[in-house]
Amino acid sequence: MDTQWETYEVFHQTKRGDPHVHVGAVHAPDPHMALQMARDQFARRMKCASIWVVRTKDVARTDYQDETFFAQILDKSYRDPKAFEAPDKGEH
């Protein structure tokens, strides 16, 4: 019998304005306790503005094996800012 509780993935935001970053997971009996466990495990030394926890079961993931999901063969550099030459200043 598994008595280690289920896992919650932990996302940590250092300060307002920063993105939340995935830092690991905690075992917890519910979301409220998961937040506390995450604070003690992932924020005891570093400054932290916000923590999110999500049940591991609820995380939808792409499949590393699926080569089609991120496939891009056609050259789409037309939409990359670097693909444009900057006009000389003053030139029309």
């Binding site: 280690q4 896992t7 830092v23 690991g24 499949d63 080569e67």
Partner: protein, 311 residues
């Protein structure tokens, strides 16, 4: 999705590792790689939580506020490291319950160094200084591991280990500046911990089944001997600078190689102790088992409370 043959998958896997790319949870991986990682990561996790005990037993006796606070923080970190590592191993498909079960039934191994007793306060400082220095040399290498979750966990761990070494060294420096009894306590501690610490890096390559495979798959990138030599070169001058000595009369700097020569630990002793015949093996496991069993009602109750609340 294309169906690929095992050969193609393995070739792609090997190429990925050779490029220095990380392997992530969900990636195809050879069964041996998965098995080796689970073994290695869980063993590392077990070592952390068993490792809480030799120093943790000194928390009630820590001399003074600063030492007491620092020691609680250090032992807390060890629980934290165990937690990070079990989580990394869980991404490979093994439950924490199953891993703990293997530890508590004696099936799984953990760092042998923690099977030695800590009869004096100086042992706490020596563990922080010597044992953690050796661990960090090993762990800095492991942070380059090909397996993503393990590499990420190791980076966090290495950062905190710097504090562990400093607090251990600081504690020994304080004792070194103290009374003759305190200095004698330190030397006695070094005498007892020297060889067990050398054994931490593992037997010379010829004797270790795991190293060759681990090196090919960038689970390890240095041999055991390399790690041990690095440790000795680093620590012996530090020990001597404080006016202490290592219990090895043949430990001398070789001017030509730049390395310290040293006497190999007794590898038969390692075998004996690893297989259960050490001074504290039983005590360590009994303690962890008791904590696990005593806490069963708590884990069960909290698991149920959640279901009740959700209903």
């Amino acid at each position: 999705m294309n169906e690929k043959s095992q050969e193609v998958l393995l070739a792609e896997f090997d190429a990925r590792v050779a490029r220095g790319e990380k392997i992530e949870p969900g990636d195809w991986m050879p069964a041996d790689y998965r098995k080796e990682l689970i073994r290695m990561i869980s063993q590392h996790a077990h070592s952390e939580i068993v490792g809480q005990l030799p120093e943790g037993q000194w928390i009630p006796f820590a001399p003074g506020f600063r030492r007491k606070l620092t020691l609680v923080a250090k032992v807390q970190d060890e629980a934290g490291h165990g937690q990070l590592l079990y989580t990394a191993a869980e991404t490979l498909g093994k439950s924490r319950e199953a891993m703990m079960d293997e530890l508590l039934t004696g099936k799984a191994k953990y760092a042998n160094v923690f099977n030695y007793p800590t009869p004096t306060w100086a042992d706490v400082g020596i563990i922080g200084w010597l044992v953690d220095t050796s661990a960090v040399i090993n762990q800095t290498m492991l942070a380059q591991s090909s397996y993503g979750p393990y590499a990420r966990a190791m980076k966090r761990i290495c950062y905190e280990e710097a504090f562990h070494i400093k607090q251990g060294y600081d504690s020994i420096v304080a004792l070194a500046k103290g009374t003759p009894e305190q200095r004698a306590m330190v030397q006695d501690s070094i005498n007892r911990w020297w060889y067990p610490t050398l054994m931490m890096s593992g037997p010379p390559t010829k004797l270790s089944e795991h190293t060759e495979r681990s090196m090919k798959w960038k689970i390890k990138t240095k041999t055991n001997e390399q790690v041990r030599q690095e440790f000795i070169n680093l620590i012996v001058p530090q020990i001597r600078a404080l006016g202490f000595e290592v219990p090895d009369p043949d430990c001398k700097l070789n001017a030509q190689t730049g390395h310290f020569e040293y006497t190999q630990p007794d590898w038969n002793e390692l075998k004996r102790v690893v297989n259960g015949d050490g001074p504290c093996n039983k005590e360590r496991l009994d303690t962890r088992r008791k904590a696990h069993e005593d806490g069963m009602w708590v884990r069960e109750a909290l698991a149920v409370a959640n279901k009740k609340a959700a209903a």
